[in-house]
């Protein structure tokens, strides 16, 4: 062994160096993505504050600008939804860091705010859009994961069909956020996927497109 010992050590040193470089690169990539999300969050947060103030303003001063407020709220919702998808994809490529959890929580809170704002606007403006909250888990069991994947696709199709008449609000229930935990208690959310239509109708388990379509139509009447 002594005759070749240097080869084995050199191989080990090379391995450690390349391995560490790879891991550092992985960390850098993940940190960079989190940086992107943080920047995006700041922008969305600003937009959100703007939308909130508008709602407050229309609520207290001018009711005639309801359409504008709804549109602003909807635009914000879409943006948060898109960003949520991006975070999900980033999450799948995150193996080394757990910082993304914090970003997920921040976005989940924004979604809650969006929901509450949608409730307020709906009442204040007497709007006929439907609030559809989709409760899902980030780490579901095997069966629930397949159900969630299917439900997410069905909801995407519904959203495409109804556009601004449907406020789709996906909320993760397993991020240990007090506000979401309160909602889980309030609406008795025990499993995923669960849907909540206009804060009244709770639908547990996978729902088909046709069933949801009919319910949404009924809600709009």
């Amino acid at each position: 062994m002594a005759r070749f010992g240097d080869l084995f050590w050199k191989a080990l040193v090379l391995t450690v160096v390349v391995f560490l470089l790879g891991v550092l690169l992985g960390f850098a990539l993940e940190r960079n993505r989190i940086g992107d999300i943080e920047k995006e969050f700041q922008k969305i947060d600003l937009q959100w504050n703007d939308a909130k103030l508008q709602t407050l303003y229309y609520q207290n001063v001018e009711q005639k600008f309801c359409d504008s407020a709804i549109s602003e709220n909807l635009g914000f919702g879409d943006k948060v939804y898109e960003e949520g998808l991006k975070i999900e994809e980033y999450d799948r490529a995150s193996f080394l860091t757990s910082d993304l959890e914090l970003e997920k929580k921040k976005y989940a809170l924004l979604k809650v705010e969006f929901w509450l704002n949608s409730i307020v606007l709906k009442e204040r403006c007497n709007a006929d859009y439907v609030n559809l909250v989709y409760f899902f888990a980030n780490n579901p069991d095997f069966n629930a994961e397949a159900e969630q994947d299917t439900q997410a696709e069905i909801l995407k199709d519904l959203k495409e069909k109804y556009g601004k008449d449907l406020m789709l609000i996906p909320l993760p229930i397993d991020l240990d956020i007090s506000m979401i935990n309160i909602m889980r208690e309030t609406y008795n959310i025990k499993k995923t996927p669960t849907l909540l239509i206009n804060e009244k109708r709770r639908l547990e388990g996978l729902q088909s497109f046709d069933e949801l379509d009919t319910m949404i139509k009924n809600e709009q009447l």
Binding site: F8, A11, V18, F27, L85, E89, T150, E153
Partner: protein, 407 residues
Amino acid sequence: MEFITGVYLFFIFVSLYSVFLVLLIYFRNRHNLYFEKPTNGLYHISVVIPAYNKEENLLQTVNAVKNLDYPKDKLEIIVIDDGSKDKTAEIAMKIDGIRFFKKGYNSGKSDTVNFGIKNANGEIIAIIDADSYPEKDSFKKMIGYFDDPETGAVTASCFVRNTGKLIERLQAVEYFLIAFGRKILDFVDSVYVTPGSLSMYRKNLLDEVGGFDTNNITEDIEIAWKILKHKYKNRMCLSAKVYTEVPDNLKKWWRQRLRWNIGGFQTVHKYRNSFFKKSLKMFGLFVVPRFLISHVLSITGFFVFVYVFGRVIVQKLMYWIFSIQNGNTIFEVPRLFLIPSVFTFFIFLLFAFTLAFTYIGLKTMNKMDIGFKASFTILFYLVFYLTLYPLVLLHSLYLLAAGNIKW
């Protein structure tokens, strides 16, 4: 970090280490790959050819040995019929210039070879399978290694003779790379198999260690380990060539690989006490651990693969079933996110290293005249053929656990 991520990273670390070790050994010795040791004098060689049901090949094998560029007075050819059911014995009896023994019963290759060794007069024993054909100059190229008293055995590059079918061509690529890999191991005194297609042994060493183990189904691995354990070296002469017949269908191939794996396990079990034994030098510190670790990683890797990809497939199936049940479309254009991660870097790196090893190996073996057909074979070899290894390994483990190792 999740547990599975840790497992992946560990696999990557071990793979990188193996790759760098091979590359370092190669670059240090690349000018000596085809080094042939000039000999002080030609040794008397007894060629032992065990034959079982080899009526189609035996004559050609004996003729190839007779045509060797080696002094005839220093060459003894011994053919032993291991109780063949075909005309092997009849054919052998008619061949001139050989010593033929008919055992009259079938007792396996190890016992037959041991029988030949007992009856041999040479100071070097060359074992040649009855379906292998050494090149004319192979003996002269190999024999010089025995001038080193520490050399216990010398083996040659084994190439595939029948290359008509895809499975045969895949094995041809594999055999080139095996020969190259074995030469790399030779530079660190770690040749762990002396294949039956053509290997030479010091007769007094074989007598000293009790010959081939009749309980082991891969006698060529076991004898190589035994020699290493007795602190002799196994050497690999890359320029000496022997051609052999390989399985021509998947069933035979599978059976052959089961035998190799099970024999490998038998050997590891037999020499388990040599694991990390410093006094046994490279054998204890590298050969045994490497063999054991590569098997463990291969099996673990297979289960990880099955878990990860099996989960994805089952998930996708469930998604399709749920989608159909709920009137949702199942085929949709996926959102395309190309997100690099720590594994992207390592996967590309390891794939590049695998390609580099294949390229260097084939180039070393002077097989780089690659046309379309050969390129396809190499690609098929890298993408599909290698993935069969863990499956055979798993089947071998099952047979071993079931105690079903009759051959």
